[in-house]
């Protein structure tokens, strides 16, 4: 082996090693977090106190520590947001990849890419001073801080995430197959529906996974907009509390109380929800 060749080999192996270390370190971090959550949860699982957490009433003043309302709250708020954001993101992707004029499409993509950079607290704050009072005066019900307010704001948050995933893979498919499809006599719409969409299905899938994960995991939007009442909502205009907001609200309490212990359970549940939805989607789409 000549010296240039061995240099190249050495360089290649070093980079490979460095990348492997990065991957190992990231997995290690995730596992450590799960490990810590389980470690903190262990005492209340062993002595059976976690059964008190799986109740429907949260009222520490009367020793009720049920977090089921928060689980329902999280699911309601994030599910609604994804339901609203997904068709919007998909529609926008179609518009930017063939349906609409190209120059406008490119501008839209730039705009949505910019939306990713806006800190969530900005969305939350603007919604708190504009959207919540607006909902209150339109519907004349409650304070405006509600399931609906949080979901609408989350929609804006997850829309770019979903869009960018779909758009990227649609662009790639377009690049590969659009000319071919059109030259076979397909119309623009037919090409999108029968060729591009199936080719871009990974993007549609990943968009759903990442979008849902972001919606479930976001804290500041639900904390500032959902109202945080630990109750089961009767309507979308009722105040709800999500698991993430619950952690933020309870984290500063007395570290000996069951209220404090409950937040580790919430953390574990949040990890669980992400893991299950992730795995579920993978299984369904195989």
């Amino acid at each position: 082996m000549n010296s240039a060749g061995s240099m190249r080999w050495f360089f290649y192996e070093t980079v490979k090693m460095a990348l492997l270390l990065c991957a190992l370190f990231s997995s290690f971090l995730v596992l450590t977090i799960l490990g810590f959550l389980s470690y903190f949860m262990a005492p209340i699982i062993v002595n059976g106190e976690f059964r008190e957490l799986l109740a429907t009433i949260w009222n520490p003043a009367s020793d009720s520590f049920g977090i089921v309302p928060m689980i329902i709250g999280s699911l309601c708020v994030s599910f609604t947001a994804v339901i609203l954001a997904y068709p919007l993101a998909a529609g926008l992707s179609y518009y930017c990849n063939g349906i609409g004029p190209q120059f406008l499409g490119n501008k839209l993509i730039k705009l949505i890419e910019f939306m990713v950079c806006i800190p969530t607290v900005v969305y939350a704050f603007i919604s708190a001073i504009l959207l919540a009072p607006m909902l209150r005066s339109i519907f004349q019900h409650g304070s405006g801080f509600s399931w609906l307010a949080a979901s609408l704001t989350l929609t804006i948050l997850v829309l770019p995430t979903i869009f960018l995933m779909i758009n990227t893979s649609m662009k790639e498919a377009n690049h590969k197959f659009r000319v071919l499809a059109l030259s076979l006599g397909m119309t623009q719409a037919q090409a999108l529906a029968w060729v591009i969409t199936p080719q871009a299905r990974t993007g549609f899938k990943v968009g759903l996974i990442l979008g849902s994960a972001r919606a479930v995991g976001d804290t500041i939007i639900s904390l500032m907009l959902a109202g945080n009442a630990a109750q089961f909502p009767d309507s979308m205009l009722d105040s709800v509390r999500t698991l993430t907001a619950h952690i933020a609200l309870v984290v500063a309490t007395d570290s000996k109380s069951l209220a404090y212990q409950s937040i580790f359970f919430c953390g574990l549940l949040l990890c669980g929800i992400s893991a299950i939805s992730n795995l579920g989607l993978r299984m369904v789409s195989k």
């Binding site: 003043a61 001073i129 405006g144 109750q231």
Partner: protein, 278 residues
Amino acid sequence: MVVVRNVRVLGLLVLACAVFCVSAHAGELDRFQGMEGTLDIAGGTAHIPVMKEAAQKIMTFNPRIKITIAAGGSGVGVQKVGEGMVGIGNTGRALSQAEIEKFGLKSFPFAIDGVAVAVNPENPISELTSSQVQDIFSGKIKNWKDLGGKDAIINLYTRDEASGTREVFWDILLKKGQVDKSANVVASNGAMKLALSKDPNGIGYVGIGHVDKTIKAVKLEGTIPSQQNAAEGSYKVTRKLYMNTKGEPEGLTKAFVEYVKGPDGAVFIEKSGYIPLK
């Protein structure tokens, strides 16, 4: 050369400013000169912002001092200082005779934490009785018209479990009564003000130090919830914040207590929304 000289003059000016700023309160911090060691503090949550600010200033002034601050509530504060596990145990209530005798504790009240019931400035209601407030928060009174206001559902706002403001309000004004579970929960005095300033039908409560023109603090039993009335004792929804030590404090502990009760401490106390006690 002129330019160089100007730069030098500018540099000197900057240096002078820096020295001046640092020395503005140095007199108060001087008592920590040459000290060394660790001071552990535990107890009440309401005290924490004041303790933190003081500790930060002290540790910046003299890096050889280390101060740790833990929460845990008043009960934990008494327990830990009594057993000698921490130097200062904070409580949001006066110590009982039994606690003083059992552990030989000494109390240093340093601030008054008062809580005002507040509504939107547009709300015509400007006076409530304690029992009305209790009925509003328990959900018994649901409409402003039952209180002489307009016909609109009352929107309740309360604070998170860890809030010292909530503790005072709930202990003293609600007498540990139930808060309706549909009440919105906000995470800070600032968030409470924001919510109330935007909600014409809302009612909530804030630390007296946080009252400004964006919200309206209602008179309670005819008394205005002002700093002055709280200090004089005519406004009742207040408590004192105490630092407690085991026996007469010495050394670093003594210096810390004096610092918090001094002019620097008063600034931190006001910044945290409380009223300094002399």
